[in-house]
Structure formats: structure tokens, C-alpha cells
Amino acid sequence: MNWTWFHKFGSPKWFFQWADKWGKLIFYIGIALFLVGLVLGLGFAPEDYQQGNSVRIIYIHVPAAMLAQSCYLALGVAGIVFMVWQMKMAPIFMKAMAPIGAVMAFLALMSGAIWGKPTWGTWWVWDARLTSVLILFLMYLGIVAIQNSFDDTKLADKAAAIIAIIGLINLPIIKYSVEWWNSLHQPATFVIGEKPSMPSEMWVPLLFSVLGFYCIVTALVCWRMQTELLIRERRASWVKKEVTKHGV
């Protein structure tokens, strides 16, 4: 297998220029996909026979929840990459990613709670999915807190990486424990966002929306990494060149 792409992403200069070239395109593609998903989902998808039109919240809830999980997964993997291979880009990626993941977890919680009101009659139900997202949100807050608590960037990077790795190991344990705990306390009546067989009118817009979210988050992370790179590599000659090129 050819690993040059991996090494290229490890080079700050190469990444900065790559993000300059592709960031905007990815962002616009993401927006387009998301809008298509929204139009299809809000206007054309059928309403649910049980939940009525509130099911349309799925086009926000599911992508946000998926992103929240994927982002934490990515954080953990970046933590391992940093601790094992000392790759310089990994903590920059983590710094850019953590707040976005936290926002995604928050959006999933918020949409889940609002969806819960017409579905269950209360804003909050301690169901397995909402509870795990809540814990995930807390774990994000921990990582963001630790990233911002140290004056020494190196120590902050290492601390965040270690916590992300422990989080990655813990994630399946937490998920399993919460599901088990949930089955103990309330037999599942019906779980939001999960249908045995979803009609294509529903999952096609969902797919668009999910892909759109992924693209938007990718673009955002690229841009935030650029900012972080500018801060950390401010003395490097390539940064000076980029700064003159961008002008003001």
C-alpha cells in the first residue's frame, strides 16, 4: 500500500495548501447535499404513522448523533497516532475537532429532547441513546477543558491525547453498560430514530443529510486546523509565505 498520502497529511505546509485548495469545495458540496436532504426530508418524505411529522427531526438528530460518535472516534485515533508516532498534525486535528464534536453532541441532545416531547410527552427520557449521547457530550467537555487548561501546549496535547485514548477504550464499555442499564429500568417501547424497515423516501434524504453533515464538518475542521497551524507554526518560513500570499 502506498503511504505517501499519510506522510503528506503529516506535513503542515502541504496540509495548509491542500485545505486552501479543497476546503471551500468540500464545504459547498456539504451545504448542497444537506439542502437536498432537507428539501426531500421536509417536503417529500412521508410522515410516520405513529409519530406524525415530528419524525422529520430525524434529518437533524441522526446526522448529529452519528457525527458526535465519529468525531470522538477520530479524536481517539488521533490520540493514538500522536502518542505512538508523535505525528505533529494529530494534536492540531484534535484541537480543531473537539469543540465541533461537542456542538454535534449538543445538537443531537437538543433535537432528541425536542423530539421526545411529542413522542413521549416529556422533554427528556433516560433512554439508552440519549443517555449515551449525554455522556459523550460530557466527555467532549472534558477534552475541551483539558485542552484549554494548560499553558504548555505540549502538555495540553499529551493530556488531551491520553484522555481521548481512555475515552476510546471506554466508549464501547459505556455504550454497553448504558444499554444494559436501560433494559433494566424501562423496557423499550419504541426507540426514536430506529425503524425496522425505513421506506426509501425516508432513508434517501437521511443519507443526503448525513453526507452533508460529514462534508460540512470536514471543511470546518480543515479551516480550524489551518488557524491552529498558523498559531503554532507562526515562526516557520512557509507560514510567512502563506500570510503574504493571502494578504489582508
Binding site: G142, L155, S177, W181
Partner: protein
């Protein structure tokens, strides 16, 4: 410095810091008192909630006692000496932790029969509570140590440790209280105990090494 002399001096340190152990137990007692006063003192509420209350109180007390595990050593230079001594850091951390565990958990276990009566936990269940504490608390100590090691150079790290470590305590709390409620319902609880043991073993495999890395990163 040898492992044995380090062990002796740690025992001595725990002996001199008796007040810390007493503080942890007092904190535990206060949290337990909060529930009857703050929620409901009737046996109807307390009996099913007892396991959860004890475990929440224990988690907080343990985390607070672990949080400052390396603080004093960091501030007086002992930690530097320990690193420069050539002893294998993960092992010394483990020694420290075992002593701390004994200092906090042993008195706690002795007091558990008393506390469980205050919470109306039936006598026939008390031993299950003790089992869960024996099997689950090592995981809490081990995971908490990583947080303590990471924040050792911070002046005010206590809240940060609580924030980053408590989410990792949730599975332990869930399975521990699960075992207790299973026992209360007259069901088999050995599965939950086995999971608690497994989590503790996993933490034992990971925590000393990660704590050592964290401590080394914190030196300046």
C-alpha cells in the same frame, strides 16, 4: 532508593497524613447524609436507592482522595527524585496506589455495615455491597490516577479531574448498583461482579503505564 524503601516511606506518609483518610470518610458520610435530608428519609425510597447512594458517595470520595495523590510529591521535588532514582515509574505508581487504596477502602469497608443500616439496606445484601466495592473500587482508583497524573502541574486541577474522569466511572457505578439491585430482587448477580472485576483488570493493565507517561509529560 529501592522499591522497599519507597514502600516504607509511602506507608509512613499515609500514617502522617491520617487526616486525609479521615477527611475522605467524613466526606463520604456527608454525601450519604445529603440523600435522606435532601430527598426522602423513608425506607421506601432509601432501601432501593442505598446501593446507588453508597456508590455515588464512594466515587466522589475516591476521586477526591486520588486527585491529590502526586500533588505534594510534585511540589516538594520528591517526584523528580523518584524519576531520577531509576526505579520503574509504573511500579512505584502502583505501590503508591495500593497503599492509598488500603488507606481509604479498608476503613470504608469497616464502616459500610453502619452506613448500610442508616440507608435501610437489609443485612442479607450488605455483603454484596462489600463485594462490589472490593471489585469495583480498584478501577476507580486506577482511572482516577491518570487524571491526577495529568493535572499534577496545575494549581487548581481538582474540578478538571472530576470533569474528565467521572464519565469513565459510569460503567463501574452502573454495574455495581446493578449487582446490588439484582441481589435485592433475589436474582443472580455474579455476572455484574465479573464485569466489575474485568473493568478493574483492564484498568490495572492500562493505568500505571499511562499515569507514568502523564507524570513524565508534566515535569518541568
Amino acid at each position: 532508593m529501592t522499591y522497599l524503601s519507597f514502600l516504607k516511606s509511602e506507608l509512613l506518609a499515609v500514617f502522617y497524613r491520617k487526616q486525609d483518610t479521615i477527611n475522605a470518610l467524613a466526606f463520604f458520610l456527608i454525601v450519604i447524609t445529603l440523600f435522606p435530608l435532601g430527598v426522602n428519609p423513608s425506607a421506601d425510597f432509601l432501601e432501593p436507592a442505598a446501593g446507588g447512594i453508597v456508590w455515588c458517595a464512594a466515587s466522589l470520595a475516591i476521586l477526591l482522595s486520588v486527585e491529590s495523590l502526586f500533588k505534594e510529591d510534585f511540589n516538594d521535588g520528591s517526584l523528580e527524585q523518584l524519576i531520577a532514582s531509576g526505579l520503574y515509574l509504573p511500579i512505584t505508581i502502583l505501590i503508591k496506589l495500593v497503599i492509598q487504596w488500603c488507606a481509604v477502602i479498608v476503613p470504608l469497608l469497616l464502616l459500610i455495615p453502619l452506613f448500610s443500616q442508616m440507608l435501610f439496606l437489609p443485612w442479607s445484601i450488605v455483603h454484596v455491597l462489600i463485594f462490589t466495592l472490593l471489585l469495583g473500587s480498584p478501577a476507580l482508583f486506577l482511572v482516577g490516577t491518570i487524571g491526577a497524573a495529568l493535572t499534577v502541574s496545575l494549581k487548581r486541577g481538582a474540578v478538571l479531574v472530576l470533569l474528565i474522569i467521572l464519565p469513565f466511572y459510569l460503567p463501574v457505578i452502573i454495574f455495581a448498583t446493578g449487582a446490588i439491585s439484582a441481589a435485592q430482587a433475589g436474582q443472580d448477580y455474579s455476572g455484574q461482579l465479573a464485569i466489575l472485576g474485568a473493568i478493574s483488570l483492564l484498568s490495572l493493565a492500562l493505568s500505571p503505564g499511562m499515569s507514568a507517561v502523564s507524570i513524565k509529560a508534566s515535569m518541568n
